[in-house]
């Protein structure tokens, strides 16, 4: 199963040059680019771990690619994404988000159904990987 989060997950995996080009687009728009990683890909896991702060005042996307590769050295077996923050009034949130690194295998999610009153079913989505404690997932 391929995790489809992020704006380019239906395209072939991005090369370092692809990452640079997209990060430069964010920078040229005045957005601060950030690198985050996680071993919990649940669709509602909002807060991935931050690989340092968003890179405010960084004019060159090569620095983003450098940080992605530094992050890969430590967390290459996890998901890594690049995010761009726009601080302008009326937005003040994320403008871009794309995955740049994946675990070697992606076991996906189990859909847990709890039969409730009438014909209602309560659904829970559970990542198979998160059955293991943090740090031991995707080993």
């Amino acid at each position: 199963m391929k995790l489809r989060q992020g704006q380019f997950s239906f395209l072939p995996d991005l090369s370092d040059d692809d990452i640079r080009v997209q990060a430069q687009y964010a920078i040229d728009n005045g957005w601060a680019v950030s690198v985050e990683y996680s071993d919990d890909p649940h669709p509602r896991n909002t807060y991935w771990e931050m690989w340092g702060h968003p890179m405010f005042d960084n004019p060159d996307a090569a620095a983003v690619v450098f940080e992605v590769n530094e992050c890969r050295k430590e967390h290459g077996g996890k998901y890594i994404r690049v995010i761009a923050f726009d601080a302008s009034p009326g937005w003040e949130s994320i403008r871009m988000s794309f995955i740049v690194n994946r675990p070697a295998t992606e076991p996906g999610f189990r859909l847990v159904r709890q039969e409730a009153e009438g014909r209602v079913v309560r659904y829970t989505i559970e990542s198979y990987a998160t059955r293991e404690p943090e740090g031991l997932r995707y080993a």
Binding site: Q7, F10, L11, P12, V21, P43, P89, S97, R119, I125
Partner: protein, 487 residues
């Protein structure tokens, strides 16, 4: 005309019993400067033959505010100068003989705070049937900040919708389930599952899917949520389906909306035909229940499409941003339904900008400040397909839901393949745009390249390569782009 150019009359004469021209009654004030707090309406008026344009404009001002057909002495018990709407400018419409633009200002105290029903009861209440006019169209409105601030605005807004869905940097993708009538709940959910798993963010009930003999609403909701959750587990994405809660009474709509919430849906849907008050009630419900609210503009073309009579969709869009919906259909430009590019841009700007500067070339007659009201997500739907992705992204931008109904479900290799084709085409086009490519001119090459690693996209391009809808628009702007237009 002498009386009209100098309309102020002695009070005793003005209020003696009888019939006066509306202009003489004080509804024509050519020297009036609108206050920052005035509501301003711009009407396109077509007077009957022999009716003076200024008198017609004054009559519209009168009939949409305090006037009746004859003089009433009870006016003098009120601050009637304040409550009278004031026509203050009348211009001939360029290239349209017999039509005039009439600017009319209304004091803020004419309107109840936070009520579209009250606003519209005045502005479009009686006046559209007024005999001295052949036709009347409400083209645009300026809503003062003081009035805008009395409305909730979109329950969720574009930014928070994206945060909840965890989707950034690309248009959202949707599809309306087809056939729109006749599927059982079980079969209906199949379409939802296939489309969402294939790569769409949303599927959608059509406007007339409510609770019919072939599929009652609870069945639809239950099967759709099975489909949504299965697709979410299959892709790791947040998925949604617009469950249409439109019903015969508010009580039924609340019941359906609450059931959708209990089942974990992120979005519900209503139709424009439920009426302005019902829409405002559902917007409040949506804000209170963390729900995105989709509005299908069912019925709007009965009064928005003809250029000489009715209400422009740009005005409906403004009312709906006040009323508080999150999604609203706004045209595709390239698809099967009405929509000239310049006019459609005007609609999109009304949905998505903090502030709209006057842009006559887009049909926007006034500066409009939205006073931090949330933004509405425009929805582009109707006869669009993956092969138009470069045009759609160029015309409509990034904050839009692109809905391919036939363009998903009609794919020769199935619904999942259709959804995947759309998603790959979209991501490839956004990627190329960000990388600095000229997508307008290179769009077809970009799609062809993306199709090399995506067979479903190649099949979609082959199937729909010659489909386009090039018909003359019935509603285009009256003004060509010009650098200088005086107010």
């Amino acid at each position: 005309m002498n009386e009209m150019s100098n309309p102020k009359m002695d009070a005793k004469k003005r209020y003696s019993a009888g019939v006066l021209k509306y202009a003489q009654m004080g509804y024509w004030e050519p020297d009036y400067t609108p206050k920052d707090t005035d509501v301003i309406a711009l009407f396109r008026i077509t007077p009957q033959d022999g009716v003076d344009a200024i008198e017609a404009a004054a009559a519209v001002a009168g009939e949409s505010s305090t006037a009746t057909w004859t003089v009433v002495w009870t006016d003098r018990l009120t601050a009637c100068d304040k409550y009278r709407a004031k026509a203050y400018r009348v211009d001939p419409v360029p290239n349209a003989s017999g039509e005039y633009f009439a600017y009319i200002a209304y004091d803020l105290d004419l309107f109840e705070p936070g009520s579209i029903a009250n606003l519209t009861a005045s502005i479009i209440g009686n006046v559209f049937g007024f005999k001295p006019l052949k036709a009347l169209r409400l083209e645009d409105m300026r809503l003062p900040v003081a009035y805008v601030k009395t409305f909730q605005g979109p329950a969720t807004g574009i930014v928070v919708e994206r945060e909840r869905l965890n989707v950034y940097g690309r248009p959202l993708l949707g599809a309306t389930v087809k056939p729109k009538l006749g599927l059982s709940g079980r079969n209906y959910g199949r379409v939802v599952y296939e489309a969402l798993k294939g790569g769409l963010d949303f599927t959608k009930d059509d406007e007339n899917i409510n609770s019919q003999p072939f599929m009652h609403w609870r069945d639809r909701f239950l099967y759709c949520m099975e489909a949504v959750n299965r697709a979410s587990a299959a892709t790791g994405e947040v998925k949604g389906t617009y469950l249409n809660v439109t019903a015969g009474t508010m009580e039924q709509m609340y019941e359906r909306a609450n059931f959708a919430k209990d089942l974990g849906s992120v979005i519900v849907m209503i139709d424009l035909v439920i009426g302005y008050t019902a829409i405002q009630s559902m917007a409040k419900w949506a804000r209170d229940n963390d729900m995105i609210l989709h509005l299908h503009r069912a019925g709007h073309s009965t009064y928005t499409r003809q250029r000489s009579h009715g209400v422009s969709f740009r005005v409906i869009a403004k009312w709906m941003r006040l009323a508080g919906v999150d999604h609203l259909h706004a045209g595709t430009v390239v698809g099967k339904l009405e929509g000239d590019p310049a006019t459609t841009k005007g609609y999109y700007d009304i949905f998505r900008e903090e502030r709209n500067p006057m842009a006559l070339e887009n049909g926007i007659f006034f500066d409009q400040d939205w006073a931090s009201l949330n933004k509405m997500m425009p929805v582009a739907s109707g006869g669009i397909h993956a092969g138009q992705m470069h045009q759609l992204l160029t015309y409509l931008g990034e904050d839009v839901v692109l809905q391919f109904g036939g363009g998903t479900i009609g794919h020769p290799h199935g619904i999942q393949a259709g959804a995947t084709a759309n998603r790959v085409a979209l991501e490839a086009m956004v990627f190329a745009r960000n990388a600095g490519r000229d997508i307008w001119n290179e769009g077809e090459d970009i799609l062809r390249d993306a199709a090399k690693t995506c067979t479903p996209l190649q099949q979609a391009l082959d199937t729909w390569k010659d489909v386009s809808f090039n018909y003359a628009s019935t509603d285009a702007p009256d003004f060509a782009p010009t650098p200088e237009v005086s107010m």
